[in-house]
């Protein structure tokens, strides 16, 4: 199945990527993405330790199982205001 990844802030800058689609297996959990992403973007491995995830505009726990078509946000620590 296919999901869309969205990168923000420093992660967007380091990956030079705003958004990309990737294929994942059934029953992939959010936390599995950390490994997938670390392989594909080695220069953000350190940052993935403190990344938060969103699925379809809502924060998602690391144990959440991904569904086909999900839009997954990779959110560095936030600093709005």
């Amino acid at each position: 199945m296919k999901i869309t990844l969205k990168f923000f802030g420093q992660l967007r800058e380091l990956t030079k990527c705003d958004e990309t689609e990737i294929q994942v297996k059934e029953d992939t959990m959010v936390e599995d993405l950390i490994w997938v992403l670390g392989e594909r973007f080695p220069n953000i491995r350190e940052h993935l330790k403190v990344v938060s995830f969103s699925i379809d505009n809502e924060y998602a726990g690391k144990g959440t199982v991904l569904q086909d078509g999900n839009v997954v946000g990779l959110l560095p620590p936030i600093s709005g205001g």
């Binding site: 969205k6 923000f8 802030g9 420093q10 967007r12 800058e13 403190v50 938060s52 969103s54 505009n57 809502e58 924060y59 726990g61 946000g73 959110l75 560095p76 620590p77 936030i78 600093s79 709005g80 205001g81």
Partner: protein, 153 residues
């Protein structure tokens, strides 16, 4: 006696993420209400110093759809805790110069104590849950501001 001034419940009035200069006048108009005794407005501004270094400007980036959803949640959480008549919340994005307003929150209540507490809660909560990132520019470089891991449900 007329009880026309009683409102059954508070209203979520304004949530906006905008690349334009924030219109404070319009924001305050948005929380105008004859049942209001006190309005507290918070403005976050781009400051010329951070961590002992001189800052020259600031860039703000948001996850737009999610940021607006979370700004609405900030308002709802605030309305759930204080008797708020009206609340308005605007966050700016893009390149900001020194002194420019990055975020504005206006809270109107019958009593000032509630307005102060609700407004402070709203900006504190915004900083905990709204996906926005900022980058500081110095005379000799730039850096993403060290943020906080968002508080999730």
């Amino acid at each position: 006696m007329s009880l026309g001034y009683c409102r059954p419940s508070a209203e979520v009035e304004v949530v906006q993420l905008t690349p334009e200069k924030i219109d404070i006048e319009a924001l305050l108009q948005g929380v105008d209400d004859h049942a209001t005794g006190g309005v507290v407005l918070f403005l976050g501004k781009v400051r010329n110093h951070a961590g002992g270094r001189e800052v020259t400007r600031m860039d703000y980036e948001a996850y737009p759809e999610m940021a607006e959803a979370k700004m609405l949640e900030v308002e709802k959480q605030t309305l759930g805790k204080w008797p708020v008549q009206k609340i308005a919340l605007v966050h700016r994005t893009g390149k900001l110069q020194l002194g420019e307003v990055s975020v504005a929150i206006a809270v109107a209540c019958a009593h000032r104590k509630d307005a102060f507490e609700a407004c402070r809660f709203a900006i504190d909560t915004l900083k905990e849950i709204v996906p926005v990132w900022k980058k500081e520019y110095f005379a000799d470089g730039e850096a993403w501001v060290e943020g906080v891991i968002p508080r999730t449900p």
